[in-house]
Structure formats: structure tokens, C-alpha cells
């Protein structure tokens, strides 16, 4: 059923979705049904959106070939993707890194040294160099983690294997860990690399690797899960969030599983089993009894039917839609189980199914912030993530900063991605890309107001005590501000300032190029002649669901007025700014958030 508002310039008059009878039908779609819009939908979901040339390339294949190209991507050469470029910020004395500043200074007071630095023999602020080093690593790891996020986002943007990165993003939200607790970019980098290399492989292998992954071990307190005093954090989450979901185990199963994982830990960035901390007694777990260790527990979990059902349904919700029927979930679960947890057959089934192209699935997903940002850049034809606006600030403000999920449960997806505040913020992101600010302040070089205030006062010649007194407004000082610095052996605020300084000396700067955009070239290249065709082209190129109501007419009228003509040939030399304004308005539409 042709839609008069569909951008005819790039898409043949093909349906955007199949008939509603396709919903819940896992049968593969026929070659005769395959079209440009379906290929666009596939790239949108299995990757980060497609440009017209990429969509055409998939549309020309049979559906089976197109899906195989996305899923069986081994032939796509990844060598153009550079490995992460390390700044080299790790100092030898930092392992093991104490849990808090007080723990560092207590250790220093007791032993005479900490973090590889000796306490000053005499004089004032004898612990200051140690406190500085503590804050140095905290800051340097955060800044380097921001660089890891940039590196990963660039892979999402440019990889010839978009599903590899999309699946890594899925697992990052599933097996969530964050820098705030891990405090070591190296562990997070390794975790991302694990998700990239094994994320489309076998779930059994992946689960075991995650249970032995240093970032996860730190994030869920493995270091303190020892014989006789087990810590249930990981044991609980592996069942509740990572495999089965609530209702398939008891509190006792959690306690028994925690015992089985005792002694699993990491030293620096290596997994170790501390045999003397492992409880090798009998455990009864999910109805089985034996001297289980962590691997045994994982195998028992993987024997539970609930695990495959849970994982298959979560993958489905990520790639297709939020509300799979119980029957569909059961079918997908048995697919995953029967494939012995190989993930590619499940992904192929999903992407090839009629259900995936049914009206309930097409254009009904709300893009996550990372999908929105990477997809916007990809459809603009960029080959690198711009430094302005800052990718991490943008995605963080929108609610999904890479390597910083809020909790072990990852992010709330679906409708939770958009609130009234965030909808406006998404439009503002588009403007910051199309019309970058000329007073951009790089957040990886520029400390917080507190730090800057200390820095300014120190440089003006104030002594440390005076320089680090908090700014106070009139009225009572809150307890937290009064209590901040009472120990004369060191000054925390000074340490925080000095740590910043040491960190930016060693962490490489993020390049701050703005987006290199040429909409005139894109429009001219597509042989667009009129303003109405230009609006239709932009809607078709950037949106999967066209805006409702009179918006299209308003946009055309806007562009006509801005250019002073409906004839693009006449406006070719000066139309760039007006096209960008029109695109900003398109990207501010509620429908731009749909994929």
C-alpha cells in the first residue's frame, strides 16, 4: 500500500512492513517479499543504521544472503579497525588499589608507604604525595576510560561488522560493569574486547569468561568472597540478571552458589583462583549436591531451561520489540537450547523471520542514546566520531554513557530512554552536531568548578589550607563542607587538584574535530531538484517513521522560505545552512527517535 508521503527519491514504492499476520511468525520471509525498506530495517536493528548505498547493497541480495552478510560476518575484513591506543598511565605501585582514600592514608600511616610511594620522613603534609597519587589514578582511569569509549564508538561507526559491535553493546548492558566501581580502564577495555570477540559466539563460553573477567570480579566484589565468609553479590546477580531471572532459585541457592565461587578473584588484570580461600565442601545447588566450584555452578545454571528462555527473550527484546508473547519466547528459548547456546543461529532466525518485518516490529523501537548518536553520525556519512560535541557527555546526558551503566542491571531500555527532558536534549544534540558551538570546552582537559577554584587560588599564591577552603554562601555551612578537611597530614582537595594535573599530563587528548558535513553534496549527489524532494530525501535517509501531521509541509515551506526558491539548482551555492536547519528540525521530531 503506497504511502504518498514516502520519499520516492530513494525508496521504491515498497511497503515498510509486512502484513500484521506476520507478527509472531518465525518462518523466514520470502525473496519476493524482500525490499529496500526491509533492508533498511535490518541495518537499523542489527547495526547502527544504513546509508542509502549500504541499504541498496543489502536490498539487492536475497533475504537469506543479506542476513548471512550481517550475522556470518567472518569474511568482512576488520583489519582497518585499529586497536585501542594506550596512553600508558599505569604506575607500578598501584596494585592492589585500596578501596578508598581513608584506606590509603590508613595504610600509609601504618606501614610508611602506599601506592608505591614512601611517607615523607618529616615536614608538613607527609602523606600528600600518596594522596596525590591516589587521585591521579582515579582521574587518569576515568579519562582513559573516556578514550576507550571513543575507540569503541568509532568501531560502531565504521566496522564492516556492525552486528559484532551491536551485540557487544547488548552484552555491555546485560553484564553491566562501570568505571565508577571498577576504577581501572584496563579491566573495562578487556571486558569490551571480550564482548566483541565472543558476543556472537557461544553463550556458555561467554558466561564462563564473564565470571572470570577482572572487571566483573571487581564490580561484584569477588575479592571478598572467601571461604567461611562468602559474599553473595555475584552469585545473586548471575542468576537474577545474567541467566534465569527471579523465581527460578531460592535464597539458599544463592548462598550455596556464593560458596562455590569463593576464591575466584583477580590479581591486576589476570583471573586467579585462590585455592586456600575456596570452599571445597559439599554444596546443594538447584537440587544437585557436590563439592561444586564456580564452573560447576555455571554448568548447572546452563542446564536449566529458564536460562535459554531468559537469554533468548532478552536478545529478542533488544533487537525486535519489548513484548514477545510467551509462546514466542518459548520457541526462541528452545532454539538457543537446541543450538547448545550458539548465538548465531538464534540471531539468524530472528532477523530472517516474518515477525521481524511485521508492523509490530518495524519502526517501533526507541533508539538508545548510543544508537541515536552513532546512527546519526553514520547516516551523515561521517568516518569518525566528532570530538565536538563530546561523545561521552552527549550520551551521558541522554542516559547511556558507555562503560558507565548506572547499576549491574544495565540500562532501562524501551520507553525509559525518553522523558520530556531527554526528548528536548536529543534535539539539542542534533543542533550541537550540525552547528557546533565555538566555545567548546573539552571535558577531558577542564576540571570541575571546585578543582578550578582550588587551582586558581594556588596559582595566586595562597597556601594550601586557605586555597582549599570551600566556597561558602551566606548562612550555615553544611556538615559535609565543614568536615571535608580536618587532617593536617594531607589535604584531600589539594590532592584532587594535583591528581587532575598529573592525569592530563599523561592521558592523551581526545581529538576535537567537529563533524565534517556536506549536505549540499549529499543532496546534489542524489540528483534532487526541488525543496519538497529534498525534504522527502532527508526524511527517508534519516527517519524510519516519517513525521505525522503537517510537519512535512511545514518543513517544505520552511526550506522554500529559507532558500527563496523551490528550485535547488538556483540555490546550490548557498543552500548548506538552510539544509542543516531543516535537518535539525527533522532530527528534533519525536519520530526521529524511532528505529
Amino acid at each position: 500500500m503506497p504511502d504518498p508521503e514516502r520519499p520516492v527519491a530513494i525508496s521504491p514504492a515498497a511497503p515498510t512492513a509486512g502484513p500484521s499476520a506476520w507478527q509472531n511468525d518465525l518462518a523466514p520471509i520470502a525473496s519476493a517479499d524482500w525490499n529496500y525498506n526491509f533492508a533498511a530495517h535490518l541495518l537499523e536493528r542489527a547495526g547502527f543504521g544504513g546509508r542509502p548505498d549500504e541499504i541498496h547493497a543489502l536490498a539487492k541480495l536475497t533475504p537469506a544472503q543479506a542476513i548471512a552478510r550481517m550475522v556470518r560476518f567472518e569474511d568482512a575484513d576488520p583489519t582497518q579497525l585499529a586497536p585501542f591506543d594506550e596512553s600508558g598511565i599505569r604506575d607500578p605501585g598501584l596494585e592492589p588499589f585500596p578501596p578508598s582514600r581513608p584506606a590509603v592514608t590508613d595504610q600509609a600511616k601504618e606501614t610508611g608507604h602506599a601506592l608505591g610511594i614512601d611517607v615523607k620522613r618529616a615536614g608538613n603534609r607527609r602523606l600528600q604525595p600518596i594522596v596525590n597519587e591516589f587521585f591521579y589514578w582515579l582521574r587518569a582511569s576515568v579519562l582513559e576510560t573516556h578514550r576507550v569509549a571513543y575507540w569503541w564508538a568509532n568501531r560502531m561507526l565504521t566496522s564492516p561488522r556492525p552486528l559484532e559491535e551491536k551485540m557487544a553493546l547488548f552484552w555491555h548492558g546485560h553484564f553491566a560493569s562501570n568505571e565508577g566501581k571498577v576504577r581501572d580502564y584496563r579491566k573495562l577495555l578487556r571486558q569490551v574486547e571480550l564482548f566483541q570477540s565472543q558476543g556472537t559466539g557461544n553463550f556458555r563460553k561467554l558466561l564462563l569468561a564473564v565470571a572470570q573477567d577482572p572487571a566483573m570480579l571487581v564490580f561484584l566484589d569477588a575479592g571478598v568472597n572467601i571461604k567461611g565468609a562468602s559474599n553473595e553479590n555475584f552469585a545473586r546477580e548471575i542468576m537474577e540478571l545474567f541467566t534465569m531471572g527471579v523465581g527460578h532459585y531460592t535464597e539458599k541457592d544463592i548462598r550455596e552458589a556464593a560458596r562455590a565461587f569463593t576464591g575466584w578473584n583477580c590479581v591486576d588484570i589476570k583471573f586467579v583462583v585462590n585455592k586456600d580461600q575456596h570452599d571445597d565442601g559439599e554444596k546443594t545447588f538447584l537440587g544437585k549436591t557436590g563439592p561444586f566450584d564456580g564452573s560447576d555452578v555455571i554448568n548447572i545454571i546452563l542446564d536449566q531451561p529458564a536460562t535459554a528462555d531468559f537469554i533468548a527473550a532478552k536478545i529478542y527484546r533488544f533487537f525486535v520489540r519489548q513484548d514477545p508473547s510467551p509462546q514466542l519466547q518459548a520457541t526462541l528459548g528452545s532454539k538457543l537450547r537446541n543450538a547448545n547456546y550458539e548465538l548465531k543461529p538464534l540471531l539468524e532466525t530472528i532477523f530472517l523471520s516474518r515477525d521481524f518485518y511485521s508492523p509490530a516490529s518495524v519502526g517501533t523501537a526507541i533508539k538508545s542514546p548510543v544508537e541515536l548518536a552513532v546512527g546519526t553520525y553514520h547516516k551523515l556519512g561521517l568516518t569518525a566520531i566528532p570530538g565536538v560535541p563530546d561523545f561521552n557527555s552527549v550520551t551521558g546526558a541522554l542516559g547511556q554513557q558507555l562503560l558507565s551503566p548506572p547499576t549491574v542491571a544495565g540500562w532501562n531500555a524501551g520507553q525509559s530512554w525518553v522523558t520530556p527532558g531527554l526528548l528536548l536534549e536529543r534535539g539539542n544534540f542534533a543542533r550541537d552536531v550540525l552547528f557546533p558551538t565555538i566555545s567548546f570546552i573539552p571535558p577531558d582537559r577542564y576540571g570541575s568548578p571546585d578543582i578550578r577554584s582550588v587551582a586558581d587560588r594556588i596559582r595566586r599564591g595562597m597556601d594550601i589550607t586557605e586555597a582549599t577552603k570551600p566556597d561558602t554562601k551566606s548562612g550555615d555551612l553544611a556538615e559535609s563542607n565543614m568536615a571535608a578537611d580536618r587532617d593536617e597530614e594531607f589535604n584531600t582537595r589539594y590532592g584532587s587538584y594535583r591528581g587532575w594535573q598529573m592525569a592530563i599530563e599523561r592521558v592523551k587528548a581526545i581529538p576535537r574535530d567537529t563533524a565534517h558535513i556536506n549536505l549540499t553534496k549529499i543532496i546534489t549527489g542524489a540528483e534532487i531538484k526541488t525543496t519538497s524532494d529534498a525534504i522527502d530525501y532527508l526524511i527517508g535517509r534519516f527517519m524510519r517513521v516519517p513525521p505525522g501531521g503537517e510537519v512535512r509541509q511545514k518543513l517544505i515551506a520552511f526550506l522554500d522560505y529559507e532558500l527563496g526558491t523551490a528550485d535547488l539548482a538556483a540555490a546550490r551555492t548557498y543552500m548548506e545552512d538552510s539544509l542543516r536547519l531543516a535537518l535539525h528540525l527533522i532530527m528534533s521530531q519525536p519520530e526521529y527517535q524511532l528505529a
Binding site: P99, S100, P102, A103, G180, D221, V224, G228, A229, N231, E232, R236, E240, V246, E251, I254, P359, G363, T364, A365, I366, A397, G399, P406, T407, Q415, W417, T419, P420, G421, L422, L423, L424, E425, G427, N428, R431, F435, K473, S474, G475, L477, A478, E479, S480, N481, V545, P547, G548, G549, E550, K554, F558, H584, L585, S588, P590, E591, Q593, L594
Partner: protein, 418 residues
């Protein structure tokens, strides 16, 4: 704001929103006319405005350790369970001969001594969940072990104001909390008021500022986004202006918990009756080395709440607002070997406000008669405190339908002047 609230029980949320929009936009000649709803409007408005009181809910996420918040320093069992983490009597800010606040909580101590802080003991529910996410969902829906899809604050908004007037329910956070999920209302959810604005160039205004199209769509996600766009359009200017005008001499401390934003909106006369905010990101989940970090978290929370009440006094609205504070569970009574505490059960709740009758409420759970998992046995269903807020404070009578059962309220508020 406009008093054009309307009640039309068969109307879908979208119809109501559309009608609301037509009420303020140019399409007065449309088929959806205000007169359709006119008669019910006055009744609903009267109900929604019944007493004008405001409830602020503050969530302490992660499971706050209640025993190290309000220390039962006169109970030897406390020190037996907490040989390392127990806070010594001399460091406690004693409020009576049994209890005292953790030493950073000067703010709460002051509120208590001024008679403005209610402490409710032993709050929990049957068959407690030890999962953050599950237990938090139970507290946020007020429906343990049920699968209730809407939040209790959202349901409260629906019940108090079924006409779903805009800007009735505010959630300050980076994402919408389940607690405010509502059938009829689109909660105003924002984080940074300065960013709560569509930044456009002057030439774009004709398109950017146009009303959100009142169209019927089959795609539920598109419908949702159009609703959100309408809400954003009606609230963003209000919020931004309120924040721009707000200047307070009150020191909220290092972490203000978004309470200055609530104060700014109240000062500006935002019609919201329900506010929801949180100490975010599982902050109170103190499994390891908890002493310093927990102490710090409590100091921040206590500073911010005390400052908020002082700020309300400054703007002359202290009699109209209470803050209810909760966490999804307390922590296990015995400390763990990592100088931290694990997920527990019953916990304290706090209610702060000038109209609150300060003091202890509920039965203090025993520290010697624990359950098999070394946890407190709850003495007060947490929904009794919700019921107290709903009927006692906000004056809404339909507590039973809202909470799916009868819960006895506490007599927690001062007599109002006639």
C-alpha cells in the same frame, strides 16, 4: 495555570491529552470541545486542589543501612552484631536515651530536636526480596509479589487528578522512575533544568514551536513519543524559568539530591503536588568497607533534607510540604567480614516537615529475635506510611483502592488551622 481539568472516564489518555492541547491551542473549532468535559471539570479540580499539600518522595537507592543511620546505642546486641562497624556511643548524635544519629547527620538531629522528623521503625513487607531491583519495584509499586505495572505515585496522581492536568507529577532524574509510571499522566521528568529546553535558532521557531500534531497513530511507540513531546512543550518553559529565578542562600551541602530544584518549582508555583527524587545509582549498596562511604552518604542526605526544609521556610511554603524518605531494604544485622553489610529486610522510614509531629512511630524490631537469615523481622508494613501520606497528608480518601488493601495510617501531622 488553567483550571480546565476534565473527567471523562471512557476517554483514553491520548484523547484527554489531545483535548488538553486543544484547550490551549488554536483549534477551538475541533470536534473535541471543552464543553464535552466541562461539567466534570469543576469536581475534579476541587478534588485535586482539595488541600493543596505537596508530597516529596526521596528514595535512597541501594539499601540504606538503617542500623548505622539511627544507632540503637543503648542496645548491647547492636555492638555484638557489629564489632567493627558498630558506631561507638561517644560518636553518636544522641536524640534520646536509646537512639542517636550517625555522627555526620547534624541535619537530621536538628530536625528531630525541632520536632519536625518522624522516624518509622521496622518498615518492610511479607516474604521480602533481597534483590535491589525486585524489592525496589515492590516499594515503587506498593505491591510486593504482584506484578503491578504502575507506580504508586503514578496511581496516586491518576486518582487525585484523573483529568491528568499537565505538570501535576514531577520526577527529577535521568530516567523515569517506575514509582511515577502512570496510566493517565505524563510525568514531568527532567534532570538539569538548564538543559530542559529546545535550543532553536530564531528562524526555526515557526516549525520548532508548533503544537505537536494531534494525530491518531497505530505505532504505540510513536504515540508515546508524541505524548512526551506534548508534556515537554507544556512544562519546559515553566521549569526553566523557575530555575533561573531561584536563588537560595541555603547551603545544601555537597550533594543536594535535586532538592533545590524541587524548592525552585514550589517557589515558582508549579502546580505539581507530587515530586519524586532519589539518591541515585544504588549509592547505598555498601557491601565492603562501608564505614567511611556510608557516613558520607548519610551526611549528604541529612544536609540536603535539612536544607530543603530551611529553604521551604524561607520561601514561605514550609507548612505545605513533607518529605518521605525510604530505601528498598535495610541491611543484614551482623556485619560481614568485609567491613560492610549485606542485603537485609526491615528498615527505617523518615518523614520530615514543619507540619510533621516528630518522634518515633511503629514498633522497634528486636535485635536478638532475628529471622533465619539474621535479618530484622518487620513490624510495620511500609504501605502504612504510604497510606499516611495519601490520606493523612494529601487528604485523598481512596487509599484502599490505591494500595489494594487497607493500611492503618499513623497520626503524624499537626492539627491544621481551620
Amino acid at each position: 495555570m488553567s483550571a480546565d481539568y476534565f473527567k471523562f472516564s471512557q476517554a483514553s489518555r491520548r484523547d484527554l491529552l489531545r483535548a488538553a492541547m486543544y484547550g490551549v491551542s488554536v483549534s477551538a473549532g475541533s470536534a473535541l470541545r471543552m464543553s464535552l468535559f466541562g461539567q466534570a471539570a469543576a469536581a475534579v479540580a476541587a478534588e485535586a486542589e482539595s488541600n493543596g499539600k505537596i508530597l516529596v518522595v526521596l528514595e535512597l537507592s541501594g539499601g540504606n543501612d538503617g542500623l548505622n543511620t539511627l544507632i540503637p546505642y543503648a542496645d548491647d546486641a547492636y555492638y555484638k552484631h557489629r564489632p567493627n562497624l558498630g558506631i561507638p556511643r561517644k560518636q553518636v548524635r544522641a536524640i534520646d536515651d536509646h537512639f542517636g544519629f550517625s555522627h555526620g547527620m547534624a541535619g537530621f538531629e536538628r530536625l528531630y530536636k525541632n520536632g519536625q522528623l518522624a522516624i518509622v521503625h521496622g518498615c518492610g513487607y511479607e516474604n521480602p526480596s533481597f534483590s535491589h531491583f525486585t524489592s525496589m519495584a515492590y516499594w515503587q509499586t506498593a505491591a510486593p509479589n504482584s506484578g503491578e505495572p504502575y507506580g504508586w505515585v503514578g496511581r496516586l496522581a491518576d486518582a487525585m487528578a484523573p483529568g491528568a492536568p499537565p505538570n501535576f507529577l514531577v520526577d527529577i532524574d535521568s530516567h523515569q522512575s517506575l514509582a511515577v509510571r502512570s496510566k493517565l499522566h505524563v510525568p514531568v521528568v527532567f534532570d538539569d533544568p538548564n538543559r530542559f529546553t529546545r535550543e532553536v535558532f530564531a528562524v526555526e521557531r515557526t516549525v520548532a514551536d508548533a503544537a505537536v500534531p494531534a494525530i491518531k497513530v497505530d505505532n504505540p511507540s510513536q504515540g508515546y513519543l508524541l505524548d512526551i513531546a506534548r508534556s515537554a512543550r507544556s512544562s519546559s518553559a515553566l521549569v526553566r524559568e523557575a530555575w533561573a529565578k531561584y536563588k537560595s542562600p541555603v547551603d545544601y551541602g555537597l550533594v543536594s539530591l535535586d532538592l533545590p530544584k524541587v524548592a525552585a518549582l514550589i517557589q515558582a508555583g508549579m502546580p505539581a503536588r507530587l515530586y519524586y527524587t532519589s539518591y541515585r545509582n544504588n549509592a547505598f549498596d555498601t557491601h565492603v568497607f562501608q564505614a567511611d562511604v556510608h557516613q558520607r552518604l548519610l551526611t549528604y542526605a541529612s544536609d540536603a533534607v535539612a536544607a530543603f526544609l530551611a529553604d521551604l521556610e524561607r520561601i514561605g511554603r514550609a507548612d505545605d510540604v513533607v518529605v518521605m524518605i525510604f530505601s528498598e531494604f535495610g541491611r543484614r544485622v551482623p556485619e560481614n567480614v568485609n567491613l560492610g553489610t549485606d542485603h537485609g529486610t526491615a528498615n527505617l522510614m523518615f518523614v520530615a516537615g514543619k507540619q510533621v509531629k516528630g518522634g518515633h512511630y511503629g514498633k522497634v524490631p528486636s535485635l536478638t529475635d532475628l529471622d533465619s537469615g539474621d535479618n530484622l523481622i518487620f513490624t510495620t508494613d511500609f504501605r502504612r506510611v504510604y497510606a499516611t501520606m495519601i490520606s493523612g497528608w494529601l487528604g485523598y480518601r481512596g487509599t484502599r483502592e490505591l494500595l489494594h488493601a487497607d493500611f492503618e495510617s499513623f497520626d503524624m501531622f499537626r492539627k491544621r488551622e481551620a
